[in-house]
């Protein structure tokens, strides 16, 4: 038996008895960031492939959500800061060692760029839109001309943004649940899956919707494989990671994780999507909503559970 107690007394807010320094703002941001990355990735990909005509929702309409998601996500991040008036300090340094630093810089690039992207399509969404100023009209013309180059930049930045949401957590060696290199790819795939689900939900075109549904099925498959891989890694690792895995294998997060994330968020929507592809009539809103819900739950659970896990000494 080993028992450790604080004899001097220690009950620091948000640190004791369990670390809880990151609240709802972080998982909400991780979700919105992943969603934005997913939508932008597909928009950029199908622009590069020259499929704007066949995939209008992917390339145009769904991207209107991206600046909204990113601004809301950034606002959530801002709310999380405890020394808010100093937030600009993020942009006076570049620290390659710190994922949060380069993540902040990627957001600084991708947010305005996604706005420019949307601006080039606003006239197609609102036909009598008027930029009012000559300079904006010129800028729009220029942006439309360079759409393909913009797509290449967005393709790369969206992958970095998507993987960053996982690396932000996996860089912390002190939290064994997060400290696994599979977390970056897992969050990337999950973010792309939520992006694909959103496009699928918005699309009115049968071809586009079926294609996104197929892509989403592949992503769900990869995600399930990564989750199995995550736990296999933990079980074969050191005591701290075995204990981290135990939170999900009989511990306090077992039901919330396996029921809400895996069953309702991945397996059930996958079954619905397969049935729909087989010709059954299923409202697309159901699988799409479940995937988004599962993605959000996944981030909440990972952030909450990760903070409980720690080194033992």
């Amino acid at each position: 038996m080993k028992e450790e107690i604080f004899v001097s007394g220690r009950h620091i807010p948000n640190i004791d008895p369990y670390l809880h320094i990151w609240h709802w703002q972080i998982p909400v941001y991780l979700f919105l960031g992943g969603l934005a990355a997913g939508i932008l990735f597909f928009a950029a990909l199908y622009t590069i492939l020259g499929k704007e005509k066949e995939m209008p929702t992917t390339v145009k309409w769904a991207t209107f959500l991206v600046p909204v998601a990113l601004v809301l996500g950034l606002f959530a991040l801002f709310l999380d800061l405890k020394h808010q008036l100093f937030f600009w300090r993020l942009y006076t340094t570049v620290r390659i060692e710190s994922p949060m630093s380069w993540g902040a810089w990627v957001l600084m690039l991708i947010t305005p760029l996604s706005m420019v992207w949307v601006a080039t399509y606003i006239k197609e969404l609102i036909p009598n839109w008027d930029w009012k100023f000559e300079i904006l009209k010129k800028f729009e013309k220029l942006a439309i001309e360079y759409r393909k180059s913009m797509a290449w930049v967005l393709l790369i930045l969206s992958v970095i943004l998507g993987i960053y949401t996982g690396i932000l957590l996996s860089a912390f060696n002190a939290r064994p649940l997060w400290n696994t290199s599979i977390l970056g790819p897992l969050f990337l795939v999950s973010g792309m899956s939520t992006g694909a689900a959103t496009i699928m939900w918005m699309s009115k075109d049968h071809f586009e919707r079926t294609l996104m549904s197929k892509i989403d099925l592949i992503l769900i498959g990869i995600e399930l494989f990564f989750i199995v891989h995550l736990f296999m890694g933990f079980m074969a690792s050191s005591e701290v990671q075995i204990q981290a895995a135990d939170l999900f294998l009989g511990g306090q997060f077992t039901v919330s994780f396996w029921v809400f994330v895996v069953l309702l968020g991945l397996v059930f929507p996958a079954v619905l999507e397969i049935l729909e592809l087989r010709g059954y009539k299923i409202p697309v809103a159901i699988p799409a909503f479940l995937i988004l819900f599962g993605g959000l739950m996944f981030r909440f659970i990972m952030v909450e559970a990760g903070q409980i896990t720690r080194y033992l000494y």
């Binding site: 038996m1 080993k2 028992e3 450790e4 107690i5 604080f6 004899v7 001097s8 007394g9 220690r10 009950h11 620091i12 807010p13 948000n14 640190i15 004791d16 670390l19 320094i21 990151w22 999380d80 800061l81 405890k82 020394h83 808010q84 100093f86 937030f87 300090r89 993020l90 006076t92 340094t93 620290r95 060692e97 710190s98 994922p99 949060m100 630093s101 902040a104 860089a171 912390f172 060696n173 002190a174 939290r175 050191s238 903070q307 720690r310 080194y311 033992l312 000494y313």
Partner: protein
């Protein structure tokens, strides 16, 4: 120069004087502390082993908190002391998440705060507050590179350990066992 501290777990009685001295010296807000005392009981009755440890920031050589800080507010001072520049800290909490020792906290004023090895005293050649008040003289402070410092002498003849060495942080607080 590498500042370090050695704490004799055989001499410590767990009086918490170090905790109070730190709170007074550094004006630590009510309900917070930069150091604390842990009583670790190991074994089963009647073969019990008790270890009392006064814990604080380990001022690690390879500090995860310095590494993950997005603004560079967490940094090394001369002698390897890890501190936070308050007006560079944005209060993102990354360093708090990154510390295997949970040695940092969010100060009510917003910035992240922690043990500074009483840098303001150390630069004047004084000992940190916790060391200077210890009634059993179980804490030794000094420069690891100086063989005649209190800490070097304490480590020379005793067995010692660090906390969670597997975290790879290379702590500068040594526990004499």
């Amino acid at each position: 120069m590498r500042y370090a501290m050695a704490i004799d777990t055989k001499k410590c009685v767990g009086c918490s004087d170090c905790v109070v001295a730190c709170q007074t010296e550094n004006n630590v807000p009510h309900g917070y502390c930069r150091d604390w005392v842990v009583e670790a009981m190991d074994g089963s009755y009647p073969n019990l082993e008790l270890e009392i440890r006064s814990e604080r920031c380990n001022h690690c050589d390879n500090s995860p908190c310095v590494r993950c800080c997005p603004t560079g507010a967490s940094h090394y001072e001369a002698g390897g002391i890890v501190t936070v520049t308050h007006n560079e800290c944005i209060g993102c909490g990354a360093c708090i998440e990154s510390c295997p020792y949970d040695a940092r906290y969010s100060h009510p004023d917003g910035y992240v705060d922690k043990c500074t090895f009483c840098m303001h005293r150390v630069v004047k050649g004084e000992k940190p507050a916790c060391v200077s008040v210890c009634p059993t003289n179980c804490m030794y402070f000094g420069d690891l590179d100086d063989p005649s410092s209190d800490v070097s002498k304490a480590l020379k003849n005793r067995k010692y350990k660090t906390l969670a060495p597997e975290a790879g942080t290379k702590p500068h607080i040594f526990y004499l066992t």
